[in-house]
Amino acid sequence: MDRSQYTRRSLLGGVAGLGVTAMAGCSGLLESQAVGEPPVVEERPNAVYYPTHVEGMEMIGMTDAGDRQIGLMYSYAHRFWTMDVGDTARVSAGDADAHLMASVWDPDTGQVLPVRSGLSVTIERDGQTVDERTPWTMLSQNMGFHYGDNVSLDGNGTYTVTVEAGGLGIDRLGAFADRFAEPVTAEFEWEFSRGQRSEISFQQLDGAGDPGALEPMEMKMPLSVAPAREDLPGRIVGTGETGDATFVVAVTDRGGEPYLAVAPRTPYNRYVLPAMSLSATLTREGEAVLDDSLSAAIDPELGYHYGSAVDGVDSGDELTIAVDSVPQVARHEGYETAFLSMPDVELTVE
């Protein structure tokens, strides 16, 4: 792909060359996302696509928090899409100062914990609360699952950001069974200046709208990558595709009983797809041997998945996985048209 690359500072240089009149409105212009973010691509596929631009990201910090690690980072404020009733709702950057992101992971396995925890963020300056919110659960092409939102600050300065992650409200399996139950808190010092923010890389992409995805960002912290099909434990009984996502289905052992695990992932980057409601019907010789909703769960080997106990899975069984609710995570650009219409996945057990 041909990427015309520039930082906002180099853009500033270009604008300055236009003369004094241009400069008069320049700082406002450059602070706004109108310049930073090109218009959304008009013809977007109902699939994962290359966004109009890629933004870098600045690490604020990484720290231990009880039995988890929490990382905090920021970038330019930018548009994203939340899940509305039967649709998505576009959220514009407005006059926010930054897009603040948090990630929570298991320090032992490096597994990102893309799960319900009611994570909240408080931003303070000189003891005064500047902002307090429950950021959205989000999916971005260069980072995968994270918690994020656009925030407005009180100018340049030193902020204290407190991240509170609650206990995980989903099934925890294997070595995770006794972990992540308690709320944890992490505190970060954030030296914010608009000048420094403008140093964050910003590249427009030529192939915007084409099917594909940005490369995962190289980071010091782990990303929410699902295990490769061949790395999943147990027996792989099939793979299906729906709404541009891939579902890998495995049968493993849980407490001595067979366990059906469905592990959905994004194309290209293989990120896990959280916050879905799935149900499964397993039919053997015309009789349903399983017909139940699947529970979201996290396991050191399976990763984030949806599963259910099952009496057994035989070769030739017909398996239908229904997507009752598509991933209820907010999406960064390039993911907002994918994973929305997700017909049943039907497969014959291998």
Binding site: M83, D84, V85, S117, T129, D149, G167, G169, S325, Q328
Partner: protein, 420 residues
């Protein structure tokens, strides 16, 4: 907020005066807001302290309209040990003098006195016939400070000046009120905290210049509360009889839960669509079918989420969103009646948008059950609904403080013994 020609709107001024307190503020307040009120008659005040509804107006749909201005005084008994009869008489005399000064109505003064578990711990004997647990956190994601003053006084009137005057009378800062000689608590109580607020059409819009609300004044002029929707629908409230303790020495009383909640409405107003707000406040079907007009006055005397309740698991599964009212409506008694009588109001205390969530119920257990229904953990754990995201309005609030109180019947409202 639209400033008047005097620079500050009258209502804004009254709100500021209630918040600031002080006799200077009050006299200025009384000058601007000078209701011509009759005096009151203690013999006409009901036996139940919480019997307010008969004295309150109703809107066109029959919904009770609680007073517009409120203050909560948290007070500590100034001595160690148990109060004596002198203290009891002083407190009762103070309450009686308020009843003489103002009529028992929205234009006059309505008030209650409630007592905490910490207060009853002063006594060796157990509280008789009422379970009054100490407050606790009620969700895995909250960590509130627990209020344990001895008592809380709830003062309410459509006139801020009346609320402020009543407070000053109780605190011994004035000796006449509405032309009536009044006496206060003397040395019996020390005020340890004060919270103020308001509810009613227009008031939230006038007071939206605070932390927690976007700067572009998004709160609807017609909204009675900051979140922009009607609340307190007649059919979604318990009756006063329903929240009354029926037997034992405190028969005729009730229990009160009071929480202090910070609102964070940046996402609500800047990011959520109208459809998301309706779905999260009421239920997804209300959003899909566009059932809520404006602030929701078209709903009449019922938020009409009854039909949504049965769909809650389906909504959770298919939409990944469940509504606040939809979840809360699940907490009903055996007669399918709501168990809470909400008398909550908004606040700008600490310069931030907030709610003083005051609810009455015959037992604190009813509040705990309703809050559990509102948490929706049962729904979110089996679906794509988040712990707080897309789970009613949990995302937009932080519970900062919680307290539980017994509101005795009027006959034992002054420093009650555990078995009066």
């Amino acid at each position: 907020m639209q400033p008047t020609q005097r620079g500050v709107s009258r209502r804004e001024f009254v709100k500021a005066a209630v918040a600031i307190g002080g006799s200077a503020a009050l006299s200025a307040c009384l000058e601007r807001e000078s209701p011509d009120l009759a005096t009151g008659d203690p013999s006409s005040v009901p036996d139940r302290q919480h019997a307010w509804n008969e004295a309150l107006p109703r809107d066109d749909h029959g919904n009770v309209r609680i007073p517009r201005h409120h203050a909560l005084l948290l007070v500590e008994y100034s001595e160690t040990g148990v109060p004596d009869d002198d203290a009891r008489e002083t407190v009762e005399a103070a309450f009686r003098s308020l009843e003489r000064a103002y009529p028992w109505s929205n234009e006059g003064l309505l008030f209650t006195a409630g007592y905490s578990p910490a207060y009853f711990d002063r006594y060796d004997a157990d509280l008789d016939g009422v379970a009054l647990p100490a407050p606790t956190a009620l969700a895995p994601f909250e960590d509130p400070e627990l209020d344990e003053p001895d008592a809380v006084l709830h003062l309410a009137s459509d006139y801020g000046s009346v609320v402020l005057g009543a407070e000053q009378a109780l605190m011994g800062e004035r000796s006449t009120l509405n032309g009536v000689d009044v006496s206060g608590f003397g040395e019996v109580f020390d005020r340890v905290d004060k919270r103020t607020g308001f509810v009613g059409d227009g008031l939230p819009a006038e007071h939206q210049d605070v932390d927690g609300i976007p700067d572009d004044e998004p709160v609807d002029e017609d909204a009675p509360l900051f979140m922009g929707f009607e609340s307190g629908f007649e059919k979604n409230q318990a009756s006063e009889g329903g929240v009354t303790i029926e037997s034992g020495p405190f028969a005729g009383g009730t229990t009160q839960h009071l929480s202090k909640i910070r609102l964070h409405l940046d996402q609500w107003y800047n990011q959520d669509s109208r459809s998301q707000r309706v779905a999260k406040m009421f239920c997804p079907a209300h959003a899909e079918d566009d059932r809520v007009e404006g602030v929701g006055e078209n709903l009449g005397d019922d938020n009409q989420v009854g039909d949504c309740v049965d769909d809650i698991e389906a909504d959770a599964g298919s939409h990944g969103i469940v509504g606040h009212a939809q979840k809360s409506a699940r907490a009903r008694d055996e007669n399918d009646t709501p168990v809470l009588l909400r008398r909550d109001f908004d606040s700008t205390d600490d310069g931030a948008a907030g709610v003083h969530f005051l609810s009455l119920q015959s037992s604190i257990a009813d509040f705990v059950a309703t809050r559990a229904a509102m948490n929706g953990s049962d729904v979110s754990e089996e679906s794509s609904v988040g712990t707080r995201l897309n789970n009613g309005i949990l995302q937009y609030m932080t519970v900062q403080r919680r307290g539980n109180y017994l509101v005795p019947p009027r006959s034992s409202r002054a420093l009650p013994r555990p078995s009066p």
